[in-house]
């Protein structure tokens, strides 16, 4: 059942100790900062977090990592000029890292939402990141077997929601939102605007409301 919450605290209440949490965004675009702040406030720990990066500077995901609330990161690009909190935890052996090529990350998230139990892709074949993985020669290329990434909760940011939970995004802030929404048992979207049912053109809906459980307006 779709729910509209008044506060981000209520919106993230479903995240529990040990949850796998997908967090949308690529860099700052599409990052649900307010939901992440609420997660920080909420106190859930021992989290597995799926995000393209591993936090930047002293905000959002970086603070969650700094506070020791993230047991494991699944991401494609943890190392950035300002990823000092992740860097420190990683070097101290206090956080686990599953490094995934960005396209595999996206496709594995998509697979979870689409009910695909696994797939073969040429990406990563012959590299360190495919070590120990099953390989197969298909369509004239060596390919690597990859499995879906499911989550308990997805925290995403969209531009606008209607009363049915349909979402539209803005420019490159769309990035991981639509696929994470489909891959999690429970999807929480922070939006800038809530519009009446019928105000979004059905041709232009990007994430149908079936994938959204909780909506909170921020800002």
């Amino acid at each position: 059942m779709l729910e509209f919450k008044d506060t981000v605290a209520e919106a993230v209440a479903g995240v529990q100790d040990g949850s796998t949490v997908m967090i949308g965004g690529f860099g700052n675009a599409g990052q649900p900062f307010e939901l992440i702040d609420a997660l920080l406030e909420g106190g859930a720990r021992d989290l597995t977090v799926v995000n393209n990066n591993a936090g930047q500077a002293d905000e959002g995901l970086a603070l969650l990592i700094k506070e020791g609330r993230v047991r494991k990161m699944i991401c494609s690009f943890p190392r950035q000029s300002d990823s000092w909190h992740f860097d420190a935890k990683y070097r101290a052996g206090e956080i686990e890292l599953e490094l995934v090529p960005q396209g595999n990350l996206a496709e594995r998230i998509r697979a979870a939402g689409a009910g695909i139990g696994g797939f073969f892709t040429p990406t990563g074949y012959g590299t360190m990141l495919a070590e120990g993985k099953e390989t197969r020669f298909l369509d004239g290329k060596w390919q690597v077997f990859e499995t879906p990434i499911h989550a308990d909760v997805a925290l995403i940011k969209a531009l606008r929601a209607d009363g049915k939970g349909n979402l539209v995004y803005r420019k490159t802030a769309r990035n991981f939102g639509p696929i994470m929404a489909a891959a999690a048992k429970q999807t929480v979207a922070q939006v800038s605007e809530i519009v009446p049912i019928g105000a979004l053109d059905p041709e232009n809906v990007v994430t149908p409301g079936i994938y959204v459980n909780t909506i909170v307006k921020v800002g």
Binding site: M1, L2, R110, A112, G113, A114, G115, I116, D162, G163, K164, N166, A182, I197, G198, L200, P202, E203, V205, P208, G209, I210, Y211
Partner: protein, 229 residues
């Protein structure tokens, strides 16, 4: 035929809800009433489409059609008919406020990824373990056609079957093992028939209610052991 069932449970434990078998419309009304508010639902071609006539506005059910739409409205009439807006049975339909369109891979990902709460399908046979047979009679000269039946059967959280309990020859379609080619393994969770509603449970087939027959009479019609309510 009913030895196992009648010996296994006390008779009469499943309520006889009506004195006569249910007609198609009454059955559709019953299925509609059983769908939880806010559900996303796919109604299969044929008898299951009748269910849409009995969904109430308060239930706020969103209908999915696998050719690429959520928020499907009633069948289109007159000037509403638009050849670009059809359902999975290729019947012109309408669009409700809050609808969305998507391509076929996205639509089936929605089904296959377990996002639909309920799908309602017709059937040739359902087995005691919830195997569904509804796509192929198995006749050697039949041209096979499957459409989205296997995806719906496998993907929806709950698969409800609507059918008459008996064939024209008086044989139960709820069977110990399907003899027709199956559509999906262990996928059916409920079977709505003119004579009873069956729940496919972990411990066996439970009879939720009967229509026009007693539990014992029902058990006598089938080879499947039955449990009460």
């Amino acid at each position: 035929m009913s030895e196992i069932s009648t010996s296994a449970v006390s008779s009469g434990a499943a309520p006889k809800t009506s004195d006569a078998p249910l007609g198609r419309d009454d059955l559709a009304r019953l299925v509609a009433r059983d769908i939880a508010p806010g559900s996303f639902v796919n109604l299969g071609i044929g008898q299951p489409t009748l269910v849409s006539n009995y969904l109430t506005e308060e239930q706020d059910i969103t209908l999915h059609t696998e050719n690429g739409m959520l928020g499907m409205g009633p069948v289109a009439v007159g000037e509403q008919i638009d050849p670009d807006l059809i359902n999975a049975g290729k019947i012109p339909v309408t669009e409700l406020p809050g609808a969305s369109y998507f391509h076929h891979a996205d639509s089936f990902a929605m089904m296959r990824g377990g996002h639909l709460d309920v799908c309602v399908l017709g059937a040739f046979q359902v087995s005691a373990k919830g195997d569904l047979a509804n796509w192929h009679t198995g006749a050697p000269d039949a041209i096979p056609a499957v459409g989205g039946a296997m995806d719906l059967a496998t993907g929806a959280k709950d698969v409800y079957v609507m059918m008459t309990l008996l064939t024209k020859d008086g044989k139960s379609k709820l069977v110990p093992e399907c003899t027709y080619p199956i559509t999906g393994v262990g996928c059916v969770t409920r079977v709505y028939t003119d004579k009873a509603v069956f729940l496919i449970a972990d411990d066996g087939v439970r009879v939720r209610e009967t229509f026009g027959v007693t539990f014992d009479e029902l058990a006598g019609l089938m080879d499947v052991p039955l449990l009460a309510g």
